[in-house]
Symmetry: C3
Subunit: 175 residues, 3 copies
């Protein structure tokens, strides 16, 4: 089955996989690739150049910026915030000319972020850039991730600290 | 007076009380019940089966999931995140078949959450599921609620800890 | 060049500066003033009476309430939450009549917030009201700001604590 695009969605990419659903008020820019069988909920913004695997769920009010990669079967909770600039300043400030406009208007350095296969990012968590959230890791709701997270690791808090380990189903395992 | 539905709102339920206002880009699914005299601001998503009392204010960028109940006169701040799955994984992952698809496509367990009469959830707070925020309790901005909150209790931080008590007006009282 | 208003934006103010871009699903109420050369991304809500300077970037899923002022060249990250009520309760509760409706429907006290020139608010940060974030200060992602922040100060955590100092480019300096 072809993807389902809600009539109120704004989808400017044609690289959307079969059986994927894109819901209302969601905005996908040109140059985005989304795999098959994903569920992209309302008010999601996905910027050019982003690749999203298959079977991914992205809940509401999430933006995925250039530099972020989301592998197969990830779960991205509501209001999760990604980033791509380690020292964010307004690009429209002429004093930032050197950082943001050295060769052309869009050449500035974006620190890449990888959300590896099966990882879950809890509601309202914040993911700093230049790091990896590992295979089937789980980030607790409201956590702020400031370092690499290991495969199957459970982290939470601000900044996110090690809380234990989980299995593929998301349940805590013995350490 | 009948409810006011902004022309850019997407309201798929007819169970909206008198004098309630639903603002732009807000999406109410079928099977939602909202009482009278509520104010539901822009970019709010409310999922099927949710019941919201009368006189409730929900600010912008909030999603209310199946399993969450909001009683009369609650205040839900901007970017508040609710949840309904204790071990969130993508439903689209075939390895999660047993958890999410045992009898039919939508039978999985949602841990219920009750926001009791008059409670306030501060801006950007996160509410884990399977718990109750008590009568006229107040959750500080940015808090992550991981346990039941008592009536009139004030909590804040990550995870949210006891900070004191408030009255109906929201002001701190002597302990 | 005149401002660019995306066809899916809802812009009810005419006080939008030259070269400013307003993106999809963004809602600007009447009585808002936005300077020149700003970038206001998708799903931003700006309430009546707000003034925003020139060269400001506001990322996605941000609401700016009456009482908040944003000076030139600020960067407001995705899902940042502002506030304007120190003791938030639902205005629709008749027991709040005295606080919210003493003279007319909209006379209640809003604690003012100033985001001074060049300041950056990181992704998913929360800004309490009645305070100032200083000139070129930087609030880390996920922080909850509960006090005044000094010029060039770097703060982070819940509640936000002093972490150091930054320069105009956002890089840490020696203390």
């Amino acid at each position: 089955m072809p993807p389902y695009l809600h009539p109120q969605a704004l989808v400017e990419s044609e690289q959307i996989g079969d059986n994927t659903k894109i819901w209302a008020f969601t905005h996908i820019l040109p140059g985005v690739t989304i795999g098959e069988n994903c569920n992209i909920c309302d008010y999601v913004f996905i910027e050019s150049g982003v690749t999203i695997g298959k079977g991914v769920t992205i809940k509401t009010h999430v933006s995925v910026w250039t530099g972020v990669t989301i592998e197969d079967y990830c779960f991205i909770g509501p209001n999760v915030a990604f980033t791509n600039d380690l020292y964010p300043r307004s690009h429209r400030n002429p004093e930032m000319q050197e950082r943001y406009f050295t060769s052309d208007d869009d050449s500035w350095y974006r620190a890449p972020t990888l959300i590896a296969e099966g990882a879950s990012l809890g509601a309202n968590s914040t993911i700093l850039c230049g790091l990896t959230v590992g295979y089937y890791a789980m980030v607790a709701a409201g956590a702020v991730v400031t370092r690499d997270i290991k495969p199957f690791e459970l982290v939470g808090g601000v900044p996110a600290r090690h809380l234990g380990w989980v299995d593929k189903q998301g349940r805590k395992t013995l350490d």
